[in-house]
């Protein structure tokens, strides 16, 4: 049933996001060409410099459009995360979803999986658009990119397995961080739903309240752990040991994220299972 729920959520998401996901790189490409054109005109005679001025206007417009598209991508992603949970489960659409013969956790996980995919792809599209903008703007950038990639590939084989483990852990941590941020919003909305009136205000207050609690708890845990850790570790100059320290730190961060994530999931699931009130 979870797969069917995710299929349905992805379908509702694709309609809104695919156009923006296509639009942002497209605008980046057009902007990069107009930048390139302006630079080419400007480097010529005084007459062509006049054209460069006109082209500069185009660059300005394209630039505004590009940042508008990125802003739209960012805002849409956040609105999507909130709206699909709020409208999809806690408003009228919830009548349909909560009368399906599925478990409450499946409804929550389905929303979280879709929201994570949307957020992750939006971030990738944002980075990809920025890369397009840089790469196609000037030949120098392309050249320097080639140099950088060549260097990276030549040094890849010199790097040990710990480095690649850390890279993998870092990517995993980013994905977990996205899921955790999404669940933070879900838990706040679930708690806000318990308020008899002013549920939106309740959700906002809950979001801030959760942030404060998490911050206090993590500070206490960090303070306790730092007293246990020997300070001498920081004096080591060995690259291998630094890498291992990095691995340990990434694993520690992941553990903290997973614990926080699990707490959010349990709280949200319990509230929607035992305190659901679709008035």
């Amino acid at each position: 049933m979870l797969g069917k729920l995710i299929k349905y959520d992805l379908k509702s998401m694709s309609r809104a996001f695919i156009p923006v996901w296509c639009l942002a790189p497209l605008i980046a490409l057009l902007l990069s060409f107009s930048v390139k054109g302006t630079l080419a005109w400007a480097s010529g005679s005084p007459l062509t410099s006049m054209f460069a001025l006109g082209n500069g206007m185009l660059v300005m417009v394209m630039g505004i459009l590009f940042f508008a598209a990125l802003a739209a991508l960012f805002v849409m992603t956040i609105v999507f995360v909130i709206q699909r949970f709020w409208n999809g489960l806690l408003k009228e659409e919830g009548y349909l979803m909560f009368t399906l013969p599925v478990h409450t956790w499946e409804l929550i996980v389905s929303k979280a999986v879709t929201a994570t995919i949307v957020s992750f792809v939006s971030i990738l599209i944002g980075i990809f658009s920025g890369m397009i903008l840089m790469v196609f703007s000037t030949e120098e950038v392309i050249r320097s990119w080639f140099v950088a990639w060549k260097y990276l590939f030549s040094s890849i084989f010199e790097l040990g397995p710990t480095f690649w483990l850390n890279v993998m852990l870092f990517i995993l941590l980013i994905i977990l961080g996205i899921v955790q941020s999404i669940y933070h919003i879900y838990t706040a909305m679930a708690i806000g739903h318990l308020f008899p009136t002013h549920k939106v205000v309740g959700s906002c207050v809950s979001y801030i309240g959760i942030s404060i609690i998490v911050s206090i708890v993590s500070n206490i845990v960090n303070a306790c752990l730092s007293t246990l850790m020997p300070d001498t570790w920081y004096n080591y100059r060995s690259y291998d040991l630094m890498e291992l320290m990095g691995t340990a730190y990434l694993l520690y961060l992941m553990l903290g994220t997973i614990v926080e994530l699990a707490a959010y999931h349990v709280i949200t699931e319990r509230i929607l299972s035992t305190k659901l009130n679709l008035e």
Binding site: E93, P101, K275
Partner: protein
């Protein structure tokens, strides 16, 4: 208590300081069309939402086919809410696919046939349909299931008399005869002819439950007349109308 499709024992539910159900007790058997009758604000919708798990009671026991509201009870309940619950982007065909995906007892061929009979284009998006057509689609979805319990919340409120006849005949012609249909309404005279049993609910409590035939034989009254008698209020300034 065993063998009952619906069992409610001392069920309480409040919205803030306002109590909607006040210790409601109710038992209902299978294979009947039951009218859940009461004036506006008597607790009908609250009871239906508790039965299908959209609301959690503050106190009391609610069992449907012997189980508390959960995955099993949701698989045997077909619910028609008092307002549309669809995402506007969905096409009629998306909704039919959706119900086919999630409900094993959903008869797709029957739903397609009903759409065709009512000239509803399955390719149209829900947001482009009129209010009446949306309600028809909702009714098609609900009545295309072979459910054990149909919970129909105000299915004929806000529609013209001809549409009421159509809705009632759709319910009568398509429900699972082994299941129970619970119709909540305050439009008694329209539904009276289809009911086997009635439950009167007032101020969050069940005040009367009997078979329609018994009411006619014992009381010598129609359900509509009995309802008016039970729920009579003296108008401001006194006197009768």
């Amino acid at each position: 208590m065993s063998g009952m499709l619906i069992q409610c024992q001392d069920v309480w539910k409040s919205y803030g300081s306002q109590a909607a159900l006040k210790g409601l007790n109710l038992q209902m058997e299978s294979g009947k069309i039951v009218g859940l009758l009461g004036p506006n604000g008597s607790g009908k919708t609250t009871l239906i939402k508790i039965l299908n798990g959209l609301l959690t009671p503050d106190q009391g026991v609610v069992l449907v086919d012997g189980e508390r509201p959960g995955t099993y009870t949701k698989s045997i309940i077909s619910y028609l809410p008092d307002k549309p619950y669809f995402a506007g982007w969905m096409k009629v065909s998306d909704l039919l696919d959706f119900f086919e995906d999630f409900y094993e007892d959903f008869d797709r061929a029957k739903a397609d046939h009903m759409c065709k009979a009512l000239q509803i284009d399955e390719k149209l998006r829900m947001k482009t349909l009129s209010k009446g057509t949306k309600e028809k689609v909702q009714l098609i979805l609900v009545m295309s299931r072979q459910a054990k319990l149909y919970l129909l919340d105000e299915p004929i409120a806000g529609v013209d008399p001809a549409a009421r006849d159509y809705i009632l005949s759709t319910i009568l012609n398509n429900y699972n005869p082994e299941g129970t249909v619970l119709i909540s309404t305050h439009l008694i005279s329209d539904v009276e002819r289809v009911l086997d049993e009635v439950v009167f609910i007032r101020n969050g409590q069940m005040v009367f439950q009997d078979l329609v035939d018994n009411i006619r034989e014992k009381e010598g009254k129609s359900v509509d007349e009995l309802f008016r008698e039970v729920f009579r209020t003296v108008p401001y300034g006194g006197g009768e109308w």
